[in-house]
Amino acid sequence: MLDSRRVVYISLMIAMGSAIHLIEGALLPLPIPGIKPGLANIVTLLALYLYGLKEGMLVALMRVLIGSFIGGIFLSPGFFLALSGSIASTLIMAFLLRQTKCFSMVGVSIAGAVAHNTGQLIAAAIILENRAVIFYLPILLITGIPAGFLTGYLLQCLLKRSDSSTILNGFIRR
Protein backbone atom coordinates (compact mmCIF):
# COMPACT_ATOMS: atom_id res chain seq x y z
CA MET A 1 0.00 0.00 0.00
CA LEU A 2 1.34 3.36 -0.94
CA ASP A 3 1.05 5.26 2.27
CA SER A 4 1.86 8.87 1.49
CA ARG A 5 3.11 9.49 5.02
CA ARG A 6 5.55 6.66 4.60
CA VAL A 7 6.66 7.93 1.21
CA VAL A 8 7.37 11.36 2.68
CA TYR A 9 9.38 9.92 5.54
CA ILE A 10 11.41 7.65 3.31
CA SER A 11 12.12 10.57 0.99
CA LEU A 12 13.18 12.65 3.96
CA MET A 13 15.51 9.90 5.08
CA ILE A 14 17.02 9.64 1.61
CA ALA A 15 17.55 13.41 1.55
CA MET A 16 19.11 13.39 5.00
CA GLY A 17 21.30 10.44 4.13
CA SER A 18 22.56 12.13 0.96
CA ALA A 19 23.24 15.34 2.83
CA ILE A 20 25.12 13.62 5.66
CA HIS A 21 27.04 11.56 3.14
CA LEU A 22 28.15 14.67 1.23
CA ILE A 23 28.93 16.81 4.24
CA GLU A 24 30.93 14.02 5.77
CA GLY A 25 32.86 13.50 2.55
CA ALA A 26 33.52 17.21 2.08
CA LEU A 27 34.24 18.43 5.58
CA LEU A 28 35.84 15.67 7.58
CA PRO A 29 39.50 15.13 6.82
CA LEU A 30 40.31 11.48 6.39
CA PRO A 31 43.11 10.20 8.61
CA ILE A 32 43.63 7.13 6.45
CA PRO A 33 42.40 6.91 2.86
CA GLY A 34 39.12 5.10 2.51
CA ILE A 35 38.22 5.31 6.17
CA LYS A 36 35.40 7.50 7.44
CA PRO A 37 32.79 7.17 10.16
CA GLY A 38 29.94 6.49 7.75
CA LEU A 39 27.45 8.67 9.57
CA ALA A 40 24.98 8.38 6.70
CA ASN A 41 24.52 4.81 7.82
CA ILE A 42 22.40 6.15 10.69
CA VAL A 43 19.62 6.92 8.24
CA THR A 44 19.76 3.51 6.61
CA LEU A 45 19.64 1.88 10.01
CA LEU A 46 16.71 4.08 11.04
CA ALA A 47 14.79 3.08 7.91
CA LEU A 48 15.55 -0.59 8.59
CA TYR A 49 14.45 -0.22 12.18
CA LEU A 50 11.23 1.63 11.43
CA TYR A 51 10.12 -0.10 8.24
CA GLY A 52 12.09 -3.07 7.02
CA LEU A 53 14.54 -4.50 4.52
CA LYS A 54 12.86 -3.12 1.39
CA GLU A 55 12.69 0.44 2.66
CA GLY A 56 16.16 0.31 4.21
CA MET A 57 17.62 -0.95 0.94
CA LEU A 58 15.76 1.77 -0.94
CA VAL A 59 17.16 4.47 1.33
CA ALA A 60 20.70 3.06 1.08
CA LEU A 61 20.65 2.70 -2.71
CA MET A 62 19.07 6.09 -3.35
CA ARG A 63 21.55 7.71 -1.02
CA VAL A 64 24.48 6.21 -2.89
CA LEU A 65 22.92 7.17 -6.22
CA ILE A 66 22.11 10.77 -5.29
CA GLY A 67 25.37 11.17 -3.41
CA SER A 68 27.29 10.03 -6.49
CA PHE A 69 25.32 12.38 -8.76
CA ILE A 70 26.11 15.38 -6.58
CA GLY A 71 29.66 14.30 -5.85
CA GLY A 72 30.27 13.58 -9.53
CA ILE A 73 31.44 10.02 -9.09
CA PHE A 74 28.49 8.24 -10.75
CA LEU A 75 29.67 5.00 -12.44
CA SER A 76 33.25 5.62 -11.34
CA PRO A 77 35.10 2.96 -9.30
CA GLY A 78 34.29 4.85 -6.11
CA PHE A 79 30.59 4.62 -6.92
CA PHE A 80 30.71 0.85 -7.25
CA LEU A 81 32.65 0.58 -4.01
CA ALA A 82 30.02 2.61 -2.18
CA LEU A 83 27.22 0.65 -3.84
CA SER A 84 28.53 -2.79 -2.96
CA GLY A 85 29.40 -1.69 0.56
CA SER A 86 25.93 -0.29 1.12
CA ILE A 87 24.19 -3.39 -0.20
CA ALA A 88 26.30 -5.68 1.98
CA SER A 89 25.83 -3.64 5.13
CA THR A 90 22.08 -3.17 4.61
CA LEU A 91 21.55 -6.90 4.14
CA ILE A 92 23.56 -7.78 7.25
CA MET A 93 21.91 -5.12 9.39
CA ALA A 94 18.43 -6.12 8.24
CA PHE A 95 19.17 -9.73 9.11
CA LEU A 96 20.51 -8.88 12.56
CA LEU A 97 17.66 -6.48 13.33
CA ARG A 98 14.86 -8.78 12.27
CA GLN A 99 16.14 -12.28 12.89
CA THR A 100 18.15 -11.96 16.08
CA LYS A 101 17.35 -10.52 19.46
CA CYS A 102 20.76 -10.40 21.12
CA PHE A 103 22.16 -7.25 19.49
CA SER A 104 21.44 -3.63 20.33
CA MET A 105 21.61 -0.82 17.76
CA VAL A 106 25.33 -0.52 18.48
CA GLY A 107 26.00 -4.16 17.66
CA VAL A 108 23.88 -4.06 14.51
CA SER A 109 25.66 -0.91 13.40
CA ILE A 110 29.09 -2.39 14.02
CA ALA A 111 28.19 -5.47 12.02
CA GLY A 112 26.89 -3.19 9.27
CA ALA A 113 30.08 -1.13 9.21
CA VAL A 114 32.26 -4.23 9.03
CA ALA A 115 30.06 -5.69 6.29
CA HIS A 116 30.26 -2.39 4.43
CA ASN A 117 34.05 -2.44 4.53
CA THR A 118 34.23 -6.08 3.51
CA GLY A 119 31.82 -5.55 0.64
CA GLN A 120 33.84 -2.59 -0.56
CA LEU A 121 37.02 -4.56 -0.43
CA ILE A 122 35.56 -7.41 -2.47
CA ALA A 123 34.32 -4.91 -5.04
CA ALA A 124 37.75 -3.27 -5.09
CA ALA A 125 39.40 -6.64 -5.69
CA ILE A 126 37.05 -7.29 -8.60
CA ILE A 127 37.37 -3.81 -10.13
CA LEU A 128 41.15 -3.63 -9.80
CA GLU A 129 41.56 -7.31 -10.73
CA ASN A 130 44.13 -7.43 -7.98
CA ARG A 131 44.19 -9.70 -4.97
CA ALA A 132 46.67 -7.46 -3.18
CA VAL A 133 43.87 -5.23 -1.83
CA ILE A 134 43.25 -7.97 0.73
CA PHE A 135 46.09 -6.34 2.67
CA TYR A 136 43.58 -3.73 3.70
CA LEU A 137 41.18 -6.27 5.20
CA PRO A 138 42.44 -6.37 8.82
CA ILE A 139 42.65 -2.57 8.95
CA LEU A 140 39.16 -2.20 7.58
CA LEU A 141 37.78 -4.82 9.96
CA ILE A 142 39.19 -3.06 13.00
CA THR A 143 38.25 0.46 11.92
CA GLY A 144 34.71 -0.77 11.30
CA ILE A 145 34.27 -1.19 15.05
CA PRO A 146 34.67 2.46 16.16
CA ALA A 147 32.83 3.68 13.06
CA GLY A 148 29.93 1.32 13.70
CA PHE A 149 29.96 2.09 17.39
CA LEU A 150 29.71 5.82 16.72
CA THR A 151 26.78 5.55 14.31
CA GLY A 152 24.97 2.98 16.43
CA TYR A 153 25.40 5.01 19.58
CA LEU A 154 24.19 8.19 17.88
CA LEU A 155 21.10 6.38 16.62
CA GLN A 156 20.43 5.04 20.09
CA CYS A 157 20.59 8.57 21.50
CA LEU A 158 18.29 9.70 18.70
CA LEU A 159 15.71 7.04 19.48
CA LYS A 160 15.83 7.84 23.17
CA ARG A 161 15.16 11.49 22.55
CA SER A 162 12.43 10.81 20.05
CA ASP A 163 9.77 11.06 22.79
CA SER A 164 10.47 14.72 23.41
CA SER A 165 10.97 15.82 19.83
CA THR A 166 7.99 16.44 17.60
CA ILE A 167 9.78 15.95 14.29
CA LEU A 168 11.21 12.65 15.39
CA ASN A 169 7.86 11.66 16.82
CA GLY A 170 6.59 11.72 13.28
CA PHE A 171 9.32 9.28 12.34
CA ILE A 172 8.96 6.97 15.25
CA ARG A 173 5.19 6.88 15.72
CA ARG A 174 4.13 5.72 12.34
Binding site: T100, C102, F103, S104, V106, G107, I110, A111, V114, R131, A132, I134, F135, L137, P138, L141, I142, G144, I145
Partner: protein, 126 residues
Amino acid sequence: MTLGDRLLIVAILISSAIAALFIYLKPFNKELINEQTVIISCKGAVIKKVTLSEKRHGKTFNVMGRIGLVTVETLGKQIRIQEAPCHDRLCIRQGWISRPGQSIVCMPSELLITIEGNSPVDAVTR
Protein backbone atom coordinates in the same frame (compact mmCIF):
# COMPACT_ATOMS: atom_id res chain seq x y z
CA MET B 1 25.48 -2.41 24.79
CA THR B 2 24.18 -5.92 25.25
CA LEU B 3 26.25 -9.02 25.78
CA GLY B 4 25.75 -9.85 22.11
CA ASP B 5 27.35 -6.56 21.11
CA ARG B 6 30.40 -7.24 23.20
CA LEU B 7 30.73 -10.74 21.85
CA LEU B 8 30.42 -9.35 18.34
CA ILE B 9 33.20 -6.82 18.93
CA VAL B 10 35.44 -9.51 20.38
CA ALA B 11 34.65 -11.82 17.46
CA ILE B 12 35.53 -9.10 14.95
CA LEU B 13 38.76 -8.29 16.78
CA ILE B 14 39.76 -11.94 16.86
CA SER B 15 38.91 -12.51 13.22
CA SER B 16 40.81 -9.41 12.15
CA ALA B 17 43.79 -10.54 14.18
CA ILE B 18 43.66 -13.95 12.51
CA ALA B 19 43.25 -12.32 9.12
CA ALA B 20 46.20 -10.03 9.86
CA LEU B 21 48.34 -12.99 10.87
CA PHE B 22 47.50 -14.86 7.71
CA ILE B 23 47.81 -11.90 5.39
CA TYR B 24 50.90 -10.17 6.73
CA LEU B 25 52.98 -13.13 7.82
CA LYS B 26 52.37 -15.75 5.19
CA PRO B 27 55.28 -15.95 2.80
CA PHE B 28 53.07 -16.25 -0.27
CA ASN B 29 52.18 -12.60 0.05
CA LYS B 30 55.72 -11.49 -0.56
CA GLU B 31 55.34 -13.10 -3.88
CA LEU B 32 51.94 -11.48 -4.31
CA ILE B 33 53.43 -8.01 -4.13
CA ASN B 34 56.49 -8.80 -6.14
CA GLU B 35 54.63 -10.40 -8.98
CA GLN B 36 54.66 -8.63 -12.27
CA THR B 37 52.55 -9.37 -15.25
CA VAL B 38 54.08 -9.29 -18.67
CA ILE B 39 51.87 -8.79 -21.68
CA ILE B 40 53.06 -10.07 -25.02
CA SER B 41 51.10 -8.75 -27.94
CA CYS B 42 51.35 -9.14 -31.69
CA LYS B 43 49.79 -6.59 -34.06
CA GLY B 44 48.13 -4.98 -31.07
CA ALA B 45 46.37 -8.14 -29.92
CA VAL B 46 47.39 -9.75 -26.63
CA ILE B 47 48.66 -13.24 -27.38
CA LYS B 48 50.18 -14.22 -24.03
CA LYS B 49 50.34 -13.13 -20.42
CA VAL B 50 53.24 -14.23 -18.24
CA THR B 51 53.69 -13.73 -14.52
CA LEU B 52 57.17 -12.91 -13.31
CA SER B 53 58.27 -13.37 -9.74
CA GLU B 54 61.59 -13.77 -8.03
CA LYS B 55 60.88 -17.32 -7.05
CA ARG B 56 60.07 -18.54 -10.51
CA HIS B 57 62.84 -20.36 -12.33
CA GLY B 58 63.94 -19.38 -15.75
CA LYS B 59 62.16 -20.80 -18.73
CA THR B 60 61.86 -20.23 -22.43
CA PHE B 61 58.85 -20.32 -24.67
CA ASN B 62 57.97 -19.49 -28.24
CA VAL B 63 55.46 -17.01 -29.50
CA MET B 64 54.38 -16.57 -33.09
CA GLY B 65 55.36 -13.24 -34.58
CA ARG B 66 54.49 -11.98 -38.06
CA ILE B 67 57.58 -13.48 -39.69
CA GLY B 68 58.13 -16.54 -37.55
CA LEU B 69 58.67 -17.93 -34.10
CA VAL B 70 60.23 -15.69 -31.47
CA THR B 71 61.88 -17.28 -28.45
CA VAL B 72 61.30 -15.46 -25.18
CA GLU B 73 63.28 -16.24 -22.05
CA THR B 74 62.35 -15.40 -18.47
CA LEU B 75 64.67 -15.53 -15.50
CA GLY B 76 63.40 -14.45 -12.10
CA LYS B 77 61.80 -11.08 -12.62
CA GLN B 78 63.54 -10.48 -15.92
CA ILE B 79 62.39 -11.18 -19.43
CA ARG B 80 64.11 -10.90 -22.81
CA ILE B 81 63.89 -12.01 -26.39
CA GLN B 82 66.41 -14.78 -26.86
CA GLU B 83 65.93 -15.59 -30.51
CA ALA B 84 64.04 -13.88 -33.28
CA PRO B 85 63.83 -14.31 -37.05
CA CYS B 86 64.38 -10.61 -37.79
CA HIS B 87 67.52 -9.34 -39.57
CA ASP B 88 68.63 -6.46 -37.39
CA ARG B 89 68.11 -8.36 -34.12
CA LEU B 90 67.43 -5.11 -32.31
CA CYS B 91 64.92 -6.84 -30.09
CA ILE B 92 67.54 -9.26 -28.83
CA ARG B 93 70.00 -6.43 -28.25
CA GLN B 94 67.49 -4.67 -26.01
CA GLY B 95 68.37 -7.37 -23.51
CA TRP B 96 66.67 -8.02 -20.21
CA ILE B 97 63.88 -5.88 -18.84
CA SER B 98 62.54 -6.17 -15.31
CA ARG B 99 60.82 -2.96 -14.19
CA PRO B 100 57.15 -2.10 -14.63
CA GLY B 101 56.59 0.05 -17.66
CA GLN B 102 59.59 -1.25 -19.58
CA SER B 103 59.06 -2.90 -22.92
CA ILE B 104 60.78 -4.74 -25.71
CA VAL B 105 59.72 -4.20 -29.29
CA CYS B 106 60.42 -6.29 -32.34
CA MET B 107 59.21 -4.34 -35.34
CA PRO B 108 59.61 -7.01 -38.06
CA SER B 109 57.70 -9.47 -35.90
CA GLU B 110 55.22 -6.76 -34.84
CA LEU B 111 55.74 -8.03 -31.33
CA LEU B 112 55.52 -6.00 -28.14
CA ILE B 113 56.52 -7.24 -24.69
CA THR B 114 55.46 -4.93 -21.86
CA ILE B 115 55.78 -5.29 -18.12
CA GLU B 116 52.50 -4.12 -16.68
CA GLY B 117 52.25 -1.40 -14.10
CA ASN B 118 53.37 2.15 -13.74
CA SER B 119 57.00 2.95 -13.94
CA PRO B 120 58.31 4.43 -10.69
CA VAL B 121 60.00 7.14 -12.74
CA ASP B 122 58.60 9.06 -15.70
CA ALA B 123 61.35 8.12 -18.12
CA VAL B 124 64.86 6.80 -18.26
CA THR B 125 67.53 8.04 -20.63
CA ARG B 126 70.42 5.83 -21.45
